[in-house]
Subunit: 197 residues, 4 copies
């Protein structure tokens, strides 16, 4: 991104990226409203006023980070499940992809789902986007869903489940090995909490 365009354009883009990176790290650590625009600027190595040359305000930047993170996650999930014809296989791949995302971007997990989930304070809940995508996916495979399972409710439930488990896991990955978390997530989705028919 910062490698195209004229020199001033490149420099501007670079500053912007630094601000985004600084903000992402700070938001993940302390939550939207415990982070000041001065701190973000300092973290990016620029002056306080520079922040406002790139973003209207703190919330706009937060929004941008959240929506970009969501779009990235959605794309990863899409790619991971695209080629799965068997619904069970889709569940497995989706779960694995979620854990990979968590391993690679624990900062984004914290921002999207975490503790101080102020992400939700951006008007309509930001997760709605992810949920609607999942709902659509579930409806596509409607024939494979249990009879009394409403896809919209299921989508909310699954995203809630993911959010909670990922947040908990990135908070202290040592608490459980990836394999355990993955198997449990899959198990829950494939057969619920009760063993046997």
């Amino acid at each position: 991104m910062s490698s195209t365009g004229s020199a001033p354009t490149r420099s501007r883009a670079l500053t912007r990226e630094r601000l985004v990176a600084s903000a992402t790290s700070l938001f993940a650590g302390h939550g939207l409203h415990h982070v000041t625009s001065h701190e973000i600027a300092r973290g990016a190595g620029v002056a306080a006023g520079t922040f406002y040359l790139h973003f209207k305000d703190k919330h706009e930047l937060f929004r941008e980070i959240v929506f970009e993170a969501l779009a990235g996650l959605k794309e990863r999930l899409q790619k991971a499940t695209a080629s799965a014809t068997d619904p069970r296989e889709a569940v497995r791949r989706r779960s694995a992809e979620l854990l990979s995302f968590a391993e690679e971007r624990c900062d984004l997990v914290r921002i999207l789902f975490g503790r101080n989930r102020e992400a939700a304070a951006l008007g309509a809940d930001v997760l709605d986007d992810l949920i609607r995508w999942l709902e659509a996916d579930l409806r596509l495979r409607a024939g494979t869903l249990p009879a009394r399972l409403e896809p919209l409710v299921a989508a909310h439930a699954l995203v809630g489940m993911w959010a909670r488990v990922l947040t908990w896991w990135v908070d202290a990955p040592r608490r459980a090995p990836r394999e355990t978390v993955l198997e449990s997530l899959i198990q829950l989705q494939l057969s619920g909490v009760i063993d046997g028919p």
Copy 2:
């Protein structure tokens, strides 16, 4: 409660209750940090300074509301599932109880699980309590759990699922009839998202 003790004691307790009620409603609507101690006092019909005769600060009151709500919810769930011997029956009753709680106390649902879930900002995550209770319950029925389902992960997943579904539902109960939500929740817990063995 406020009907015992001397006149000033009664009056004091009454004011406290008014403050708690005012705060509960405001927190549910706008979240911890968008509510000021002045607003809480005004909502309770008392002067700003009165707030501090009853609570050290806004956070202490928030904590109190959250922990009391959690304790109440836990007790309801406990009672609802205590006499269920069949694990499937326990799941059904628990789910029904959750929806009843949501119908009766949508304000508490919003505070505990909702949008601006700043409840989490109170040091350790407040839901841990609920999760540990659920984990213990699941371990009691360990024999009935699927083999590869770790109870701790399951507890987090279920609470996450509840949180998300209840928040969504209380936000606009018309979106889905209680029956639909209940059946979907039960279905998910009993057999996951895939139909058939």
Copy 3:
């Protein structure tokens, strides 16, 4: 004082004395403006409102303590020096009396002269009273004063000297034995800081 009058009068006087005692101790320890009327009341074992049944406000009580302390000190000094015909003897007795006062009432020393000498904030400086008394005393012995020593200046200087030395001494009496302090005070007054004529 509290032993005369009818029962309710006695009780009222007792409460008043308790408030004075509590305030004296607190003022000595923390200074006028770091002590609240609630603290004084609590220290006296009465309710907050009771304070205002006995004193118009915190400052009035402070004033009362200060002026009573000053009057007491003046009286002690007067008595101690009354019978001294030799001016040197008067200096010696006065100094000794000051140290006795400090030993007995370090709380009053702190209030009158000490650290947070807010005593001074009561309109005209409260020490003026003491100073004028000393000035008068010096003028009486005018014949014995050095020629170029203006009694008014001398009175200020001596009271300043006492204030500082007593404050320092009561703050940590172990720093110097009474004898040393006394001799030094006397020496200074009798012959200044230079040895010999």
Copy 4:
């Protein structure tokens, strides 16, 4: 001072100086705790928040003023007495320097020694510094001190004397001509309050 560096640096230093000047004047007139940070800012012609860009809080600024004033006074006294070999001459020069200081900086006299001498509320007594310097000076001339005069006590006594006399004098310089005050101060230090051997 404010004439070097870049434009913003100059401006910053200027604002700081204005705040210090405003605060010095206000503290001298009303005492630390009757002056608000808003008043200081207003007096400096800046907005309330600006105060906190330059000082952590009111007390830090007060400290700074007090310690700078003390350092300045100490240096003046040092310089004034450095070349005096005769101890009597040292006393004379020191006293004259004190009165000059009072004439030039009555605001600082009021802050350091005056009415609302809250300077003392800054942890250890601020005058300790001055006293220790004087004590050291007295010990250097130990041979010239009266036998029974402990230097530490003398240092406290002299500083107390200065404090009181200067405060009184700057409060209304008309009460006594400089010459009278100076002669009295010198007389007291050279031969005490009693005439003759």
